[in-house]
């Protein structure tokens, strides 16, 4: 029934414990001279980052985060509390993601950071330079080159493999928060697998609007047990989590919770038989830069048309900037171009239904 983590995924996570856990000395951290009080004060007198431990956090903290990740992998979709440290980034700006990333990263890893689909966004650049400065890792913008990808609210268009790990930044950890603000009450609901209130909410949506009006943060069952907030990824990306080859870690700094979707785990968005889960629609639209019709598009600009001053036309563009750059060179590049066999990766990939125009229409819940 439940897709507990496979042997493979467990090995994968164990491999991430490459900071030699057993060799960690209890006093690692900011080194302090102990000869005299003056010497101690002097040793703390440096500024800049040379006074900080590898990957900023001290080894104990990183080990604690990794333990929480392991627990999260063992109980897919369950929110694991961890002691989220104040980071030198503002809370709500990816502090959970960066704690998870810095705890998992080793010097041999290549790191990619994307914010709302773009490597070049300022916040992504800021997180990337923190990792570069403190963890001394090479970085990339190419999804297929990265060992670890930290992302705010997107899963890349290119298929992730079992060699890769994805860290999603999470603002709100609990899908049930939409129907009840109380964590104490929601923890009880999770314990009892009591998701009736969410079902009623979805039903009332249908009655009131004819549609389920949840846009992103779509409530999703993981391994048939826990209801998960998949972070504000668009609905477009949710099917990519289902039976994926890669490990996804979802980390919230402000709310101090971690959860995970291990590889090969069933992930199923809540929906009704007569109101199926639907992804965002871009009928008859294509990226103005690369021409893609099978990627998540965003409206980027209003261009004046020849019809007069007040007529505007909306232009669409791929949200995944790195894949769009590849598509501009090679418009027919498939999303699984780097893999030997075709992989189902959400809308626009082999098993996803499309209409006559090749536009993806809907992605039914997983495991159907």
């Amino acid at each position: 029934m439940n897709d507990l983590p496979t042997q493979r995924s467990r090995e994968r996570v164990t491999m991430t414990e490459h900071t030699t856990t057993d060799d960690v000395l209890p006093d690692e951290g900011t080194p302090v001279a102990t000869d005299s009080v003056d010497a101690a004060l002097e040793s703390l007198d440096s500024d800049g980052l040379e006074g900080y431990n590898y990957a900023y956090l001290d080894e104990h903290t990183k080990r604690e985060v990794r333990r929480s990740v392991l627990k999260a992998v063992a109980i897919p979709g369950h929110q694991v509390p961890y002691a989220s440290r104040p980071m030198p980034l503002a809370r709500g700006w990816g502090t959970g993601g960066i704690q998870a990333s810095l705890s998992i990263l080793g010097p041999e890893d290549t790191f990619k950071v994307i914010d709302q689909g773009a490597d070049e966004s300022i916040n992504a650049a800021n997180i990337r330079r923190l990792a570069e400065n403190t963890a001394d890792v090479p970085t990339t913008t190419d999804t297929t080159e990265a060992d670890l990808i930290q992302s705010r609210h997107r899963i890349p268009e290119e298929v992730l493999t079992d060699e890769q790990r994805l860290v999603l930044q999470v603002p709100i950890t609990d899908a049930l928060r939409t129907v009840d603000p109380s964590d104490a009450a929601n923890r009880r609901r999770h314990a009892h697998k009591n998701y009736g209130k969410m079902w009623v909410h979805l039903y009332e949506n249908v009655v009131e609007y004819g549609e389920i009006k949840i846009s992103s943060r779509y409530p999703t069952m993981v391994a048939g047990r826990y209801l998960m907030d998949p972070s504000p990824i668009p609905r477009w990306d949710v099917p990519k989590l289902d039976h994926a080859d890669h490990l996804t870690v979802l980390a919230a700094g402000r709310e101090a919770r971690l959860y995970a979707v291990p590889p090969h785990t069933e992930v199923e968005p809540l929906a009704f038989d007569d109101r199926q889960f639907t992804v965002e629609r871009f009928p008859e639209q294509a990226c103005h830069a690369c021409g893609s019709t099978d990627t998540y598009l965003v409206e980027v600009s209003e261009e004046a048309t020849e019809d007069g001053d007040n007529a505007f036309e909306t232009r669409y563009a791929c949200n995944d900037a790195s894949f769009c750059a590849k598509r501009r060179k090679n418009p027919d590049l498939p999303k699984d171009h780097h893999l030997e066999e075709a992989v189902d990766w959400g809308p626009g990939t082999p098993d996803a239904p499309t209409d006559d125009a090749g536009t993806p229409v809907e992605q039914g819940g997983a495991g159907e």
Binding site: D58, Q116, S121, D183, K213, D274
Partner: protein, 377 residues
């Protein structure tokens, strides 16, 4: 790559930082020294230390300078610095009765053991702008005071102790685990223990603690406390000597302490006062009293009033959390907003409200709201 609205890299970040830094030195005035901030803007540094959870006046002054006076930003700088420090030791518990008080007022009783100490306060001054300060030279107004040596300060028995001896004060339940949980090292799960509530309130943002405390007073709650006393003074920080095991005073911290009683009688057969406690680093009476009200309110554990709901209070009172999440709204939200646009258009199309439908309406089955299958085509 012109189509991502915000394309940038390190250079843009650095330039923005440089522009911010330039604002400080934009006029020709002298650079304000960290000593001046520590000495003359003590309320600012106290607030930063209290909300940052780190008692370090000089670092706090630096943080205030770097943040250009933004206290929440300064507290955030202190917290981020604190999280990289080694935790050497834990102090022994200190009895607030030991406080060397510079100010102590008891609104509950006129005569209290040790007496009332008005101390340095602006409470009873008229709030008139003092234009002499604008360019006056500093003069010590107490220079002419005749001071007699009164000897060592008296030990000040807490006023609540008097009530407690008489059995008028409700004793909180003994905690299941006597060791407090450091909430900066182990995150809170709700419902929280009282020690966790007090820690979070002590680090709470001053404005938030004041506002939520005020909400209870204003009528959204039952707690209208009588302050047993409010004190400002210095408390010793003691650790056990690693070799001798004897207690050693390593430093002192300035704190504000507040205790209150609340006439809420939990047991009909044995009416007692409920009790609230507040303690903050530095001088910040407003926050200490606000914390006292919130501690008393949370102990009532009501569902109806915001200040009595521990989850609500703790989830909203932290400055670093609220600051970060409120300001994160400035980050790009292209992906999520596109997703929202999709939903609102779909609903408008279904209701026939959309002028230029993005989906041909006649392709959709003519159904009622509930009976249809997928609406996508």
């Amino acid at each position: 790559m012109g189509y991502v609205a915000v394309t940038a890299g390190e250079e843009l970040i650095e330039r923005a930082e440089q522009l911010f830094e330039k604002q400080r030195i934009d006029d020709d005035a002298d650079d304000i020294g960290v000593d001046q901030i520590e000495g003359q803007l003590g309320r600012l540094t106290a607030q930063a230390m209290s909300e940052g959870g780190l008692y370090a006046p000089r670092l706090a002054a630096l943080a205030v300078k770097q943040a250009q006076g933004d206290t929440v930003e300064a507290a955030f700088l202190l917290r981020a610095y604190r999280s990289t420090l080694e935790r050497f030791d834990e102090t022994t518990t200190v009895d607030p009765g030991e406080m060397i008080a510079t100010r102590r007022v008891s609104p509950a009783f006129k005569d209290i053991p040790g007496g009332q100490i008005l101390g340095a306060t602006k409470d009873y001054t008229q709030r008139l702008l003092d234009f002499d300060l604008a360019d006056g030279s500093p003069e010590d107004p107490t220079a002419e005071w005749e001071l007699d040596d009164e000897g060592d300060p008296e030990r000040l028995t807490n006023v609540t102790e008097l009530l407690r001896e008489e059995g008028l004060l409700h004793e909180p339940d003994e905690p299941a685990v006597d060791e407090p949980n450091d909430t900066t090292r182990e995150s809170i799960t709700h419902p929280p223990e009282r020690d966790e509530v007090l820690q979070e309130l002590a680090r709470g943002e001053t404005g938030a603690v004041t506002a939520l405390g005020y909400s209870a007073l204003r009528g959204y709650g039952q707690v209208h406390p009588t302050l047993a006393e409010v004190r400002v003074g210095r408390l010793p920080v003691r650790i056990e000597h690693p070799y001798t095991g004897a207690e050693v005073t390593v430093t002192h911290t300035e704190v504000t302490e507040s205790e209150a009683v609340v006439p809420v009688y939990e047991k009909r057969e044995d009416p007692q006062f409920a009790f609230g406690y507040g303690l903050t680093f530095g001088r910040n009476e407003r926050k200490a009293i606000g914390m006292t009200i919130l501690d008393a309110s949370i102990q009532l554990d009501g569902d109806d009033e915001p200040a009595e709901n521990a989850e609500f209070v703790l989830d909203t009172v932290d400055g670093t959390d609220s600051f970060g999440f409120i300001e994160h709204l400035k980050l790009p939200h292209y992906v999520t907003f596109q997703s929202i646009l999709d939903r609102i258009r779909a609903i408008r199309e279904r209701k026939g409200l959309s002028e230029q439908s993005r989906v041909e309406t006649d392709e959709r089955p003519a159904d009622s709201a509930v009976a249809g299958t997928s609406d996508d085509d």
